[in-house]
Structure formats: C-alpha cells, structure tokens
Amino acid sequence: MLRYLIQRLLLAIPVMLGVLLIGFLLMQVVPTDPATVRAGPSATAEVVAEIRRDLGLDQPLTTQFGLYLWRLAQGDLGVSIINNVPVVQELGATIGPTLELMLSSLVWSIPLGILLGTLGAYYRGSLIDRGVMAISVAGVSVPVFFLGLILIWFVGFKWQWLPFTGRGGPLWTLEGLQSIALPAITLGGVFVGPVARMTRTAVLDVLSADHVRTARAKGLSERLVVLRHALRNAMVPVVTLIGLQIGFLLGGAVVTETVFTWPGVGRLAVGAITSSDFPMAQGTIIVLSLGFIIVNLIVDMLYAALDPRMRAA
C-alpha cells in the first residue's frame, strides 16, 4: 500500500512538470504582449522595452522557463501585471472559497448519486428505475451554466429566496451558507446524474456476479446483499469513474464561480486570462492542476482502501 502510494506520488512529479511547461508555453503563444499591457496604452517603446527587461521577457524561452521554475521553487509566482499584487497572495485568498464550493457540492451530490443509482439498480426495470434514469440523463445533458442561470433567474431573482452573487462569509455563518447554496446546488447538480448512472451500471454488474449468488445462498436479506455485496464492490469502479470526472468538476467550478461571481481560483483564472495577466493566469493553472493531481491521489488511495487486492500491491 505504501509502496503503491509512493509510486503514485513519484508519477505525479513529471505530470506536474508537464503541466508547468504547457502553462508556460500557452502563455507564450497568446498574441498579447504582457509588457505592452503592463505599460498601458500611452507608453513609449522604451518604457515597454524596459518593462520587458524587468520581467525577463527578453531572455530566451528556456532561460525564462528555468527562471520561472527557480522562482516557483521559492514560492514566488510573480506579481500580477494588472494590479501589482503578489500572485501567491491572490491565490491564497481564493483557494479557500474554491475548496468550500467543491466540498459543499460533492458532499451531497456524490451520496445522492450513489443512492439514486443503487435504488435504480435495486428496483431495476421499475418506475423508480426509470425515474432515476430520467434524472441522470437530464443531469448529464444540462450544462453547468444553464443550470446556474435557471437557478439565478428563479430562486435568486424572481422569488428572491437566496443570494446569487459573491460569498457572504465563512461556511459556518448563516450568510456563508445562504450564499454558497445556489453555487453548490449548481455544481453538485450536474454531478448527481453521472454518479447515479455509473453507480447503477456498476451495481447491476456486480449483482449478477457469482459471489452475490453465494451471499443469497447464505440467507442474507436482499438489503444486505445489495449493500454489502453489490454496492460495496461497485464502489471500486464508481470511485475510479468519479476520479475520471475530476476535470469535468474543475471545469464546472470555473463556470460556476464565474456565473455566481464566487471569489475562487476559477474566477481568478478567467479574469487573469481575459486580461492577459500572465503571471496570475499561470498561478491559477498551477493551482488547478495541483488540485487535479491531489484529487487523483485521493482517488488512488480510496481505490486501494476499497479493494484488498490493491493493498497488497
């Protein structure tokens, strides 16, 4: 188990380097010149050149990348071109709200998806099953921004039940809870369908396995058979499949944060990219990729914890 984890961690290093390189190169091919943006529309060519020298933009690409990695290792992600705030500081302020949003989306949508999927499998072919399938098809096909806009229009604007812009405060305050409700329903909402569908398929698959027949032959109740012998085993593929949706979740978070002006990394990323804030955009990409890698590691650990055959490896 430990060896497996170390192996996974080591594998994450080249992935991270690759991400850094791609993020770095992407910013190189963007047509806008950060030095010009920084200098403002009325700056002379000399001023722009000086800024370029300051930012190291006159160096060859390889040197720029090396320089970049070196600073990164020291926790220096540079300074925002737009407002001169250190990137690390901005990121530090936005990571919390993003984590909040993700957790409060997943904490209800994954259990609900698993519950619906299990019910669908248990009552396969019945009206309940068809209801679950309808929900999951709807959930799979509704885009995040659309669900967000619908909620904003009705719940937020027309009926005025819940706030729909910004973050009201920390999660443990009433304002915090109220303000996160709609974003969490939006981001979690699009996740319920896929989880339900994957769970249903996985549980149905396991229900026809030999060991389920053994469990029934032992005289277990159908409830125990489904929970302990079908769902428990189905969690292995379900966790893997949920892991494969991490990218989808991160993308959804970016959209949700933008739609609800949620002060998270995703919105910061969108803002930085649209304003050609070169260092800031890179910083957000690094954080989002790190998040991706960390969630993948968590999935790997869960996977190992769920499947005894993996623990030995």
Binding site: A209, R213, T214, A217, G219, R232, A312
Partner: protein, 333 residues
Amino acid sequence: MTEALLSIEGLRTVFRSGMGEIAAVDGVSLSVPRGRTLGIVGESGCGKSMLSLSVMRLVPPPGRVAAGRVLLEGRDLLTLPKAEMRDVRGREVAMIFQEPMTSLNPVHSIGDQIMEAMRAHEPRAGAAELRDRAIAALARVRIPAPERRFTEYPHQLSGGMRQRVMIAMALACSPKLLIADEPTTALDVTVQAQILDLLRELQSETGMSIILITHDLGVVAEMADEVAVMYAGRVAERGPARAIFEDPQHPYTLGLLGSIPRLDEERETLLAIEGSVPPPFALPPGCRFAPRCPFAISPCNAAPPPLRDIADAHEAACIRAPIEASLALGNAA
C-alpha cells in the same frame, strides 16, 4: 430406506425467451435420504445447476420455477413466504458452487464472510463468539492456521482453500442438506480428491445429507449412495449407486459409463456418446436421447418415455430397458 429429507416432485423450471417458454428442468422428481448422498450426473447443459438453484429458489431471472414441489421434511419450499425461505437458506439447506475463484466476495475478509453467514441466522450472537466459531469452522474444514486465514482475503487463497472456505461457510449453521454444484470441477485432481474426502468426513461428523452434482461419474462412484442421471432437463435413470454402476439400464447411462460399443470400429473401444445435449428450445418430440441413442427404435420418437421400475428402487426412462448386457456389447443396431 429411511424417510427422505428432501423430495422434489415434478419440478419444472423455465426460461421465457423469444421462442416461447423453454424448460431447463422438465418434470424432475427425486428424493434425498437423510444422512446420505444423492449424486446427480449429466453432461453440461442438462439442467443440473438450474435444478439445484430451483431448490434454493435462486433461479436467476428471467428463469422461474413453473411447477412442482420441493418438500423439505414435508414443507414445500416453493410456497414459503420470502422471509421464511431466506431462513431456510444457509440454515437448513446450504449450497456451494463450481467456481471457487469467484464465489467469495473479493472485498470482504474470509472471517467476515463466514461470520456474516452465522449472523444471518443468529442475529443475537456476540462478536467474540462469532469470531471463535468462524475460526473453528475454518479449522473444521482442515484449513491450516485458521486464525491467520480468518483475516485474509479470498485472493490470498488457492482455489482448493477457497472451496474449503466455501464449505466452512456453508456448514456454519449446521444445515441438514448441502447442495454441492460441481464443487471440484474447477480444481486439479489431487485437490479434488482432498475436497471430496473432506465432504465425506464432514458428512459422517454431522449426519447431513448431500446433493452432489457433477458431470464426472468417477466422483459419483466415490461419493454417492443414490444416483440420478439427468439428460436434457429430465431424469433418465435413478437408483442406488450400486445398481446404476453394476446394472445400468438407460443407454445414456451406459454411454456415460463408456460401455456402449462403437458401431463402426473395434468393439473394445470404450467411448463417450457422440453428439451433444440438445438445447431446451430444440428438443426432439419423443425420447430426448433418441437422436444420439444406438438402441433407438421408431417408437422412441413418438412420446417421451416415463420412468419405469426396473428393479427395487431402480427406475429408467427407456422403453428398451432392461437392455441385456449381451445386447449392449453385441449387436446394438
């Protein structure tokens, strides 16, 4: 003969398919004496597994038991309410399967799976007691170092060991009847012999009855007191093991015993029957074995022959029985 523990009467198990209802088990009647072993033999596909799953009421959908009775000590299992039937499973009738590699749940430890079987029927037993009994159950099936095995997972065990675990689990609640559906087919020969020995020893310790399903007559010869030969969903012949082996009556049994002379080659060659079991949706109108039978005459194709008494407690479903030994060895045609 003692009173039967289990008697199956006119059991019919069907699958609904595009071509209408097909019967995997078609009017089977059998009985299992107390404390003894009934061997059920037949080629693959002749309905042995569906028969045993019907007794457990675990026929996988879309299959279902369409007719018949399964009397356990006089009580019809087929009409029991679901909850009562659940209580019968594992406690009165237990079952082990052909696939030791997949019949145990890979994500739960051996100990948990055995304790679960006990807890299903004795919800009030304490954790420590269950643990002790589960370890004792592992020891009883001659698993070395049972305390260590208790915490291990199925993938850490060999096929033979897993089948022992299955047996330990099946016997955890001291059932009156153990149904073993090809318990050794997937194992290699030495392990196979060990498992059969174990079953025999456990039977004499506990006095349970066993239904031993196999396609291997050698296994039946070694284990069974009574034998039923199945062919295409029906009983072709049944009787005491001695009678079946010493005086087989149905040509199919003769074929299984390898004693039908080949018509075209040397008389001495022992061989299995040619062809294969007809699928349930393509059954001949008369005797189901007739198309493969070297003794078949035209009346065989008219109607399915019923089981007839040949000798004491020995029945065969063949209009040509008793088949003279000389006929079997000589001019069959």
